[in-house]
């Protein structure tokens, strides 16, 4: 979609420390120019999605439902998307070139870091951190996640189809940056077109294979994908894929890496799936980070009916928005506008101990048992039942015939455990 006239760029768009603004009100910025620097190692810079003038730096509504330090950029006369003539040339990453194969691993990682690339699957973990494994943890495999994280979302699918070349280049760059000989692209079996295209594009590089995996949820979760592709089991938290010698990256991230390294484009736009019955024209759109939701709604033909619930992310793990006056962030993989019919009122029944949640749990936990412990306030028992290992994929609550709030009870339990830990250390 066309660049908007006004963007609100939150500085907390990734896991880890928020970025620090390096521009002030009144500054004129070029498209792609850095506007904030990383606030720590686990952090990423933020770039201007459009050319224009900085009109505000301060707290603005964040999709997470809390005010967050943000930079507002507005297109001005002669500057910005409305008038392409006379605009300052777009800013590009220094050092980027199509000749990336000659770069060292450190150079590649630095470029990726400068481009502000974070995991585009949804968690928004800074990519350069994943590319810098601690010594003593040998990595032998790169897994590329093309297994669409959640139902409803099709943005990864579109990226694989429309930017096949960029994806494959990105995979090769990531392989080089990690120094691993082998990469697997895992794609769910219901996307034969994507598998075919990727297969063709990868034919040149024998270190990359495309593997079709079963269509199920949550196949796109790191641990599940690794298990499905390699049979390795990532240990429970604090265990990471690193512990079994694997790094996982999303296909969208790979494409972004390719653009950053070969063309010097920092990460200031992404593909977002816009769907749900309340939107007139569901589609996948490439949008600038910071685009207000209302612009996207207008671009997609407006609202067909008043939405009852708006979800950012996927239907299983996404967050419901409290407000439509929020911008798109790097982690926004989907925007779902649900009508009342799609998310009916659900009053929970008593647990009938059917055990389906436990059967469905990809981590073999017992969600009903955990939730009951949280409900009666027995946090120790909840901990003994491995509450901390839950990744909140939502499978249990989806399947629960009693409509119980299993995921929220787990999150509540984790939050209370966190509170308690802080109280004790205080």
């Amino acid at each position: 979609m066309p660049a908007p006239c006004r963007v609100v760029v939150p500085l907390r768009q990734h896991l880890g420390a928020p970025a620090k603004a390096i521009v002030a009100v009144g500054d004129r910025v070029a498209e792609g120019q850095p506007i904030a620097e990383p606030g720590g190692f686990v952090s990423a810079p933020v770039h201007a999605p459009i050319a224009g003038e900085v009109t505000f730096v301060g707290p603005r509504a964040h999709p997470g439902g809390f005010p967050c330090e943000s930079v507002v950029i507005e297109a001005r006369d002669g500057v910005g998307p409305a008038a392409t003539d006379g605009a300052p040339p777009p800013w590009r990453l220094p050092g980027a070139s199509a000749d990336w194969e000659r770069m060292t691993r450190a150079e590649l990682t630095a470029l990726i870091r400068e481009a502000g690339i974070v995991g585009l699957g949804g968690a928004a973990f800074p990519t350069h951190v994943k590319l810098s494994p601690p010594a003593g943890k040998p990595i032998d495999l790169l897994v590329i996640n093309g297994a669409e994280c959640e139902p409803f979302l099709t943005c990864d699918h579109r990226v694989m189809l429309e930017e096949t070349a960029a994806v494959v280049t990105g995979v090769r760059i990531l392989k080089r940056a990690l120094g691993v000989p082998r990469a697997i692209i895992g794609v769910e079996g219901n996307k034969p077109d994507a598998i075919a295209r990727l297969g063709e594009a990868c034919a040149l590089d024998d270190g990359i294979e495309v593997v079709a995996c079963r269509v199920k949820y949550p196949q796109g979760a790191e641990k599940q994908l690794i298990n499905a592709l390699t049979g390795r089991e990532v240990p429970p938290p604090p265990g990471l894929p690193l512990d079994v010698g694997v790094v996982v990256q999303n296909v969208g991230t790979a494409a972004a890496v390719a653009r950053a390294v070969t063309a010097g484009l920092p990460l200031y736009e992404r593909v977002v799936t816009v769907s749900g019955s309340a939107i007139a024209r569901p589609s996948n759109v490439r949008v600038r980070i910071g685009t207000p939701l209302r612009d996207i709604i207008d671009f997609c033909g407006g609202l067909a009916s008043p939405p009852a619930k708006v979800v950012m992310g996927g239907p299983m793990m996404g967050a419901s928005l409290t407000d439509l006056d929020v911008p798109v962030v790097k982690a926004t993989s989907g925007l779902l506008f649900f009508t009342r019919h799609e998310c009916p009122d659900s009053t929970p029944h008593a647990c009938i101990r059917c055990g389906r949640c436990g059967e469905a749990c990809p981590l073999c936990l017992q969600p009903s048992e955990i939730a009951l412990r949280v409900e009666i306030g027995d946090l120790d028992a909840a901990q003994a039942l491995h509450i901390q290992e839950c990744m909140e994929c939502g499978t249990c609550a989806y399947i629960c015939p009693s409509n119980r709030w299993l995921v929220q009870q787990v999150r509540l339990g984790k939050a209370k455990l966190h509170d308690r830990k802080q109280q004790r250390s205080a």
């Binding site: 008593a350 048992e369 009951l372």
Partner: protein, 196 residues
Amino acid sequence: MEIAHYLQLVLWAILVNNFVLAQFLGICPFLGVSRKIESAIGMSIAVVFVITAASVICWLLYYTVLLPFHLGFLRTIVFILVIAALVQFVEMVIRKVSPSLFQALGIYLPLITTNCAVLGAALLAITKDFNFMKTLVYALGSSIGFGLVLVLFAGIRQRLDIVPAVPRILRGMPIALVTSAILALAFLGFAGLVKM
């Protein structure tokens, strides 16, 4: 067939004529120490030990001291004294010899003095004219039956605590007793399993 007979006696004592569910012996600790599975297990082990030891000692005392002197009527007093002394003695020994064992089950020992199952087992063995071996087997079986039901019951109560939907006035003792009622009902299925 001796062994088969003793086996039948054990089964009879555990299942058919269960101390708690059929004879109402040891209800106090059954209701009191059944809130957690772990303490129920500790209590069970302690009870098995004390009941067996007490019954055997009481039997010996009865047939070697009381009966020869025609003092059968004194058995209640003598037995309770012996049990009290035995429990205290065992407690002291365990505390000295194995503090960890004492931590695990020593604290249940004083509770056993007034557990009517202990005196009950000793008295019943006399009333039923059991010989020495039978007394031993009977006491062992009965106490295992007590422990089995105690542990099962503790599991149930722990679950009742997790699903706190029980109406308020029934919480605690009343629902525990209603549960025991259904448990006793289920144990009636063993009626006639062994004919003693």
